[in-house]
Symmetry: C2
Subunit: 663 residues, 2 copies
Amino acid sequence: PGVIPVPRQEQGRKVPAVSVETPAIPGVSGRAAPAGAVAFGVKHTEGVSVDVLFRGRAEPEPVSGAGARWPLDEGTVLRFSMSRASSEVNDNKVTVSFYAEGGKPINQAGVFLTGVGISLDVDADRDGVVEKNSPNKASWAWGPEGHGAILLVSCDKEFPFIPPSDCDSEPVFSREGNGSSNPLSPKSPLSPLCGNPEETSGNPDKRGFPVFPFPADPFFGQRYVQVLGRRKLFHAVPYPGGAAELHFFVEGLRFPDETFSGLVSIHVSLLEPLAEGIPHSPIFTDTVVFRVAPWIMTPNTLAPVNLLVCSMKDNYLFTKEIQSLVAKAGCKLKVCFGYINRGDRWMQDEIELGYTQAPHKSFPVVLDSPRERGMEQLPVKELLGPDFGYVHKEPLFEATASLDSFGNVEVSPPVSVAGKEYPLGRILIGSSFPASAGRRMTRLVRDFLYAQRVQAPVELYSDWLAMGNVNEFVTFVPSSDKKRFRMLLASPAACYRLFREKQKEGQGEATMFKGYSGTDTKRVTINKVLSNDVLAQQNQYVQRCIDWNRDILKKELGLLEEDIIDLPALFKLDKQGKAVPYFPNTVTMMVLAKDLGIPKPFGPVAGGECCLERRIRALLEPLGLRCLFLEDVASYHGSLGEVRCGTCVQRRPFAFQWWHFAP
Amino acid sequence: PGVIPVPRQEQGRKVPAVSVETPAIPGVSGRAAPAGAVAFGVKHTEGVSVDVLFRGRAEPEPVSGAGARWPLDEGTVLRFSMSRASSEVNDNKVTVSFYAEGGKPINQAGVFLTGVGISLDVDADRDGVVEKNSPNKASWAWGPEGHGAILLVSCDKEFPFIPPSDCDSEPVFSREGNGSSNPLSPKSPLSPLCGNPEETSGNPDKRGFPVFPFPADPFFGQRYVQVLGRRKLFHAVPYPGGAAELHFFVEGLRFPDETFSGLVSIHVSLLEPLAEGIPHSPIFTDTVVFRVAPWIMTPNTLAPVNLLVCSMKDNYLFTKEIQSLVAKAGCKLKVCFGYINRGDRWMQDEIELGYTQAPHKSFPVVLDSPRERGMEQLPVKELLGPDFGYVHKEPLFEATASLDSFGNVEVSPPVSVAGKEYPLGRILIGSSFPASAGRRMTRLVRDFLYAQRVQAPVELYSDWLAMGNVNEFVTFVPSSDKKRFRMLLASPAACYRLFREKQKEGQGEATMFKGYSGTDTKRVTINKVLSNDVLAQQNQYVQRCIDWNRDILKKELGLLEEDIIDLPALFKLDKQGKAVPYFPNTVTMMVLAKDLGIPKPFGPVAGGECCLERRIRALLEPLGLRCLFLEDVASYHGSLGEVRCGTCVQRRPFAFQWWHFAP
């Protein structure tokens, strides 16, 4: 990259023997010495540097003064380089003088050189500003010392009246600037790219990343004409003259996935016309590499911005209660009404709210689950918009199942695992047991999550549950101490311990499910629970399954026992041998900063207080958290979900920038 | 991996509160201390080690003598581990004694432990022998210090009477051992895998790598029954009793490609039945990782084993000449007759002969080009067989073109590039100019070559040629000096230099094409060539194109000018502006150890000798090479190919083992 010396042989006819090396090591090879010559000297103008490379010697010898002479050995090569573009054609020159034995000058040969400055410029140092000819622009490296430009996926929608479109399908919008009714100002997700081409042509990566030049349009702000794209791999720009600078903009069309690493190369080439009827010959190519910014999930420890919930016929009280919670947590409530939710209340299962980020811009992006149970219009109609992106992953052939619900995808807070930092946390995916042919999340979504690379997923065993979602046994809460978070696990063992304690205290006849609107209407006491051998066996099994995950989580998130809090829980097995909660599952809670919206467990009431609520408060309040127990039996628990499943939280992005991570 | 302590609480009823950690950090968590206890001590049998982990302390404290006591703090955890399997159930025990203030013993709690030894064993240290429970078997690392087992692709054919099959299609053979007529002994490409399962189940990778257990079959040697495969993800083995060892064999079904990294995981899990009607619960999973061995190309510097050539109506003399060459080089000649070649003479373009390798076995594998011009039955009918593999890459939808011929795939000898070693060389693929929408090799084959990873491909610019094959301008020859090889490049510049030299020597009227049977029958002299301005311009362009590649090759192969030899060549442009050789292209030569079969160039004859042949001898013979010029005009050159294109060489594998490379 930079200045390319274009040589032209001074004497005699044109010779096809001039070899120009790449500008990194420019030079001329050839055997032009006259007969009888045994030595040579070199003179050159100021704009050129010349090195002499001798066969078998690693280090070149620079030509400084004009007096030096070198023996004329076969294999000796002169290497020219120029660091400035020429102000006019052939304004630099290198002259080689040949000498006979005894030092008598015989003849001279020379080359005129014209330095052509050409560079594709990007923001390779990731400070949000395009720099001139960055030395690192042609490769991409992760980490705080890394380099390489970043491209946003154009997955938001600038104009609300344009029909929504999946960013995976192409074209997102018609971008042919032929006065169509879809003028587009894709300014937000575009990454700037500056070129200074003479006669140039660009070639995007195979994957088709459109490049737009940037003409002003008086009618509709700025309008862009696509010059490169999936079906337009080549764009010729005529020589603009002088030190012209052309501005191009680039957008990503898809997030990384199994078949797309996320890296995009764009080249600009200088071509020279040699003669009529002969193809133009390549002189120089400059390359820039972009990485498409990943989609990033936000853990419970990040501040909430928006809470989404569906308005149903039977959840008025629930949404009322949530309003107060949201007010306390200082975030907004967004209610999705019946004409959009169409009877589907499982907000958490339908969408996952994350974001994408480049040095010059960041915006939220909703990931739409392949699950389609009524609410599928929500993300496109209510969320997609200017600076709010949308991405959808739907398998072509596979049927979707319960494990495809996004209650089955969580993300941990930042963790450190055996010296390896995960400053954006790790994604948790519920899956089948490693050695079984059970249910798993559809490959397309799993591959998508892995391909983002910055939140390396961990697969857990959730297939033992009827719904099969990880949020039924694990969650994370912020803490005000130096650990900054705790992992909460559903724990039958903790529940049995608590109940036995209460039995010893003489509370064995304390009754569960008081005021409970669910189907279990029998009077259930602590004594009854503790004497139920089938329930004990089933919960022993459930505890084994959770402990299996506990071991994986401790290992993959680098957690100690003291980082984990066991929340009392009981399960029972259905006819298929899959676990469902015995009472509302408190681990499936909403986390809004320090305020927790916890499913009201309807535990044994002793001394006028639910002993489960009391235990949970005792476990969580010392961490600086506030517990609000929400009655969700009729509206959610009765349908095998909890409050968390009916809500979805948009959170602030990480302060940490993903490109500083090294996967 | 190893011995899993299976705990059983000693006192009282079964409690679902026992948490067993992974065997790497086995232990028991729980809060079992009696009221009033402030300290505890631990006793254990010989087969168990116990550590005490205190909250907030990084290092555990081992329990050695029985006298020590520890304060009973919340968060203190006991960790058990066992290094030997138990000889009978519950033969080990840990007892915890609790003490009140003042040291008065209060009560005891205890656990009986049974150590179950279970391990999937593979050859993770790559010495060809399966070792016991290798600590590195669950991950795969490249390099001389690397580890991880290796799997061969089952792409050869054990029994000649079984119809040939593409190893990409599944099943390769029917392997259901139900007395079918296709009994199979897939012993050669199978990698051994030993398991010692109690109640176990295995689960291969998503990609389906069949696992076969190994029963003896008196009728047909050994027969294998498939227990795991693409559609059989799970196989339960009943508890065999005692220290039983089961032997399984694994085969790969496909080489790595764009959608398959080559890594395969196989798990064995120990499941425990808890009670009637409750699913078995997972206790322990052991994992082994295999990498499927790549397909490896062999450069010209490796010793030839077999030379393949087609017998055509018009190439009798040519094959005769080749016979003598082959005899000198000490390799065999394999002639492909008309009923197989069906009029297609371009052996080099149809197939590429390479090999695959594991520590326990290596065999040649033919890569079949997507190009189908008559000879497509050759690799399956004549090459595929016992210990001779076959792989075919054919795009489903794309049409194949000239750049898909395997004359467009070469491989360099081992090179060192800026400190990075490529001990298996680098693959060279001819492609279009970086900034043009020209012809390229079909993505499927390019992706396949990249996915092998051990010979990192370099894409060159070959689209300027009518045939578009890299072997038209670059090849490699062995040398007897310390550099061990030279890169040869076609060079119009070198030809013009030579011709001008001859002109100066008074040989300007020397005539080319004497005895040439091609279509150019006009008398062509050095003077005529040198005064042809159009030819000079066209060759200036060709030289630019070759120099472009020279720069890439120097950079990507770490070559100096002195590693390169310019062979005189001339090209002319066809009506499409694509280059074809002006006289037989000597760089497209056969290399059989020190013997070169070079297309006879029919250059200007001066002093009874072709000056091109003389120059080429002068360039190559000092390297210890022998040049034989072969007349290929009628049989190959006239159809835009050369001798090399009509032949294919099977070579000895590298002594270097690919897994010692670090990509």
